[in-house]
Symmetry: C2
Subunit: 258 residues, 2 copies
């Protein structure tokens, strides 16, 4: 999404390596960087405190702009708390939040916390594109926030998603190791070397009416990448989650055949 | 609005003269033209049949693009019927409709009927800008359309606005001649020569907490323009319309003072 938008605006997009602590700040070669610190997409790691500090120092020293996409920060299943990076450098970090994961993408509700110098340029762009969130939905959302209903909803979804994640891990365990990610609404599962690749497993899942993501789709740098699957667990309705897990079990059978 | 968007995209905007039959097609010097055929903004005239034909011929002969902004076409108070220009040249005309006037601008619901060749480019731009109408509101709107409730609502608003227009004309009549426009949600009233100008009347209205528009704001070509007022009558709530008319009567008193 971000890549298409940047490329569409005539910008060149480059990748930055990510390890267990998140983005490798020393690898940034561009004036602006998009990060997903709560739950790196697609790798799932959380940006460590040291890297946060390093990133803020980089932005200050290079006049760099950090775009902090907090797309699913509401969903952490451990007890760790992370504040927004934006608070550490409000003049260099754009914070982006959304109701897409907590309510629905179709709400088209999201918000930006901008460095003061970007408020007018962003407002001008919004007028030019005609993009403005619908007023009625904003009022409803404000009512949800003020009444505490939103918070209650997020907490109840968090419990539901934690449970789904556990059940997903159980279903996948005989076939795949799911890397530890105590957050978000999808897991990353690396495929064992030498066995069927991403395309093969995804095809097997499609035969079960199940859509899985390929790690390869999100890889920016050229050359080979370790094969992996992205498995989301938020979309199916409650009654459909059990059957979806069963379909996953059947699909992953292709891994045992080899 | 259109002018800002076009200018923001790096395009040069030029005006085309408008007379009683609408846009003077022979005056078009650009590859694309924006028209408001049902109720020309701000002059209020309706595009005549001859001019419609002429415009379609122009588009065919010059490979021109016509953007038909049907922003308030639902509100005609006479019995004349006008079809969309788009139907006459579907490969050269972009039709734009909206729920902004029939429901509320804050709904952010609008639609385009595009020449086939523009569907993909427009879709690409929508993805780039992130602009998409909210799904829930679209479903509600579809329900309104299918159940007939929308049609009923528009008819009831039409009757209400026809009545408001009549009352507005009565209120303004001693001071101003309102040019004939049997459509839309605003009237244009030309100011008598030699009297107070647009700014003076608008200031008098502001003292009554009433906002009027100036014809001059919408004039594109340089040089003098005839002074006129744009008076909208859709915005005040039902209980506030009478007091708003009274405020208008008081404001227009400045015209008698001279």
């Amino acid at each position: 999404m971000f890549r298409g938008i940047a490329a569409g605006a005539g910008l060149r997009v480059t990748g930055v390596p990510v390890d267990r602590d998140g983005i490798r700040v020393s690898g940034i070669r561009s004036p602006a960087v998009v990060i997903t610190p709560a739950h790196q997409f697609p790798m799932g790691v959380t940006l460590s405190s040291q890297r946060r500090d390093e990133l803020v120092r980089w932005a200050g020293a290079h006049g760099g702009l950090v775009i902090e996409d907090d797309y699913d920060g509401e969903f952490r299943f451990d007890r760790r708390q992370f504040g927004a990076l934006q608070a550490l450098a409000p003049d260099r970090v754009v914070y982006a939040g959304t109701a897409s994961k907590t309510l629905a993408p179709g709400m088209r509700l999201a918000w930006l916390v901008l460095p003061r110098s970007l408020v007018d340029p962003v407002r001008t762009q919004m007028v030019r594109t005609g993009w403005r969130p619908p007023a009625l939905d904003q009022l409803v959302f404000a009512e949800l926030l003020e009444s505490g209903a939103y918070d209650k909803h997020v907490r109840s979804r968090r419990a539901e998603y934690r449970d789904r994640r556990r059940r997903l891990e159980e279903a996948a365990l005989p076939h795949l190791a799911i890397t530890e990610q105590a957050a978000g609404l999808h897991v990353l599962a690396m495929l064992p070397p030498g066995g069927p690749g991403e395309a093969e497993v995804i095809e097997a899942a499609e035969r079960q009416s199940l859509r899985l993501g390929a790690l390869g789709e999100h890889w920016i740098s050229a050359g080979p990448h370790p094969p992996g699957l992205l498995i989301g667990y938020a979309t199916p309705a409650k009654h459909a989650f059990g059957p979806a897990l069963e379909a996953l079990r059947v699909s992953l059978g292709v891994l045992d055949a080899n």
